[in-house]
Amino acid sequence: MYLEFMWIAACAAVGMAIMAGVLGCFVVWRRMAYFGDALSHAAVLGVAISLGFGFSVYLGVAGVACLVAVLLWGFMGSQHSTDSLLGVISHGALAIGLIAAALWGNGLSLEAVLFGDILVLEWRDALYIWTGVGVIGGYILWRWRALVLSTLGDDLAASEGVDVRREQFFLALALALLVGLALQVVGAILITAFLIIPAAAARSVARTPEAMAITAVLVGTAAVISGLAGSYYWDMPAGPSMVSAAAVIFVVLQGVSAKS
């Protein structure tokens, strides 16, 4: 089919934008940007391991990301500041991943891992991503009230019977799943951009958490579609084009909210 790769790319990218838009709101609200970084950098290690041992990249990346998520969740409860710990895990995993890629990853395109290679995806990849949309979307809808309450305060949430630690755990796992699925769409370096920019753009026009989540999804969707269009018509690299489009929308919405 003519231009089939573009349709697949659009399908996968929109799915990624939906997941990242909603989860990104929590990343912004709870100041978990570094957490997202650590997960996506660990993904590089996941890619190298899956190539080294010859199993699916999705499995390798999601596996390593989940492992890091659980590890970080374990430290989240402690009194110590987790920022420096996140930095160690994030950059440590990236460095080890790059070494492993150099040793095992025969023919591995490092650029594809870091910046994604959305134009070579197959329908199967899009299917995986939309399965992820179903799982993460369902989880967020189901736990929405508990997640919003615990964003406002652990004590407040606990007084309403919310198990704060459990909510943190599943939120971390959802982020790990997103990283596993989005790696080939935007790449390890740009995943955090899709978590943060649409949510931050939505903040300037939203008055409630629900409105912010929906706006973030719309912003992300608009960004991936215009980014892909730019990539198609002007031959720009797809991942960076999508992120740039999101950044432009962020600036425009800032202007809109400043005027009103």
Binding site: V28, L149, L152, G153, D155, G161, M212
Partner: protein
């Protein structure tokens, strides 16, 4: 007057060392309990045991079946990146219904601020907002963690009056942690003096003369405890109907 909520021989540890030890406490319907104690005496931990946020290492927490708790935390994690109007906040965790919200908002004096972002509210308004949210749950017990922290004298006075009026209207029990060692709402039925364990308790005027209270807080004010009473000659521009001065029991 049966116990709504009772703690039996409760002990709490955080990491090293006990925070609370052998605490026995029963909250009865309609009573106002004020908890005072120095920093680190376990006041907030005691409240968190009551809400269920902290599970004690030892002892039992008994709640009456179907007990509804309205909790007003010391503060919220208010981040400017988190959009939340006061109206939406009142719908947490369950939508409360416009009529009920309008009534409670009127009662707590937040009616004109419903569309504002909670991160931009003043301390007094935010306290009233959190109180309104707690009341909308029709609580049997209202738990307040240092509710007047950050309020000026007039603000605190107004807030205490509101609590007392609401107790009379809703007939809910009130358990309040006070950050001020020396000022206790005179409407308190019981004052509990806490320092890792319950040092002494009783009616406000009894506790203020107890040797344990004097030993704990004696130095600064030479052992006196001021009871907050309604000073009707000292208004700061807010009207309220005159009502009977509660006499300490």
């Amino acid at each position: 007057m049966s116990g709504l909520l009772s703690l039996q021989d409760v002990a709490v540890h955080y990491g090293q060392g006990p925070v609370l030890q052998s605490v026995d406490l029963t909250v009865r319907a309609g009573e106002i309990i004020t908890i005072v104690g120095p920093n680190g005496s376990g006041k907030s931990s005691l409240l968190r045991v009551m809400t269920g946020a902290v599970r004690p290492e030892q002892g039992r927490v008994l709640r009456q079946a179907g007990l509804r708790i309205g909790y007003v935390p010391q503060k919220l994690r208010l981040d400017p990146t988190f959009p939340m109007t006061l109206r939406r906040f009142l719908d947490l965790p369950q939508p409360a219904g416009d009529h009920a919200v309008a009534l409670v908002a009127e009662r707590t004096g937040i009616s004109g601020h419903m569309h504002k972002q909670i991160a931009s509210l003043s301390g007094g308004l935010l306290q009233r907002g959190m109180l309104a949210r707690a009341i909308l749950r029709r609580p049997d017990v209202l738990l307040l963690d240092e509710p007047t922290q950050g309020l000026d004298q007039a603000g605190s006075a107004g807030f205490y009056e509101l609590i007392e009026d609401l107790r009379n209207e809703l007939n809910c029990a009130v358990v309040m942690v006070s950050h001020d060692l020396h000022v206790v709402m005179s409407a308190s039925d019981r004052v509990i003096c806490l320092n890792g364990h319950i040092c002494c308790q009783g009616a406000p005027d009894v506790v203020s003369t107890a040797p344990e209270y004097r030993a704990l807080f004696g130095r600064g004010t030479r052992g006196t405890m001021a009871l907050y009473r309604h000073d009707h000659d000292h208004h700061h521009g807010h009207d309220h109907e005159h009502h009977a001065e509660p006499s300490p029991k």
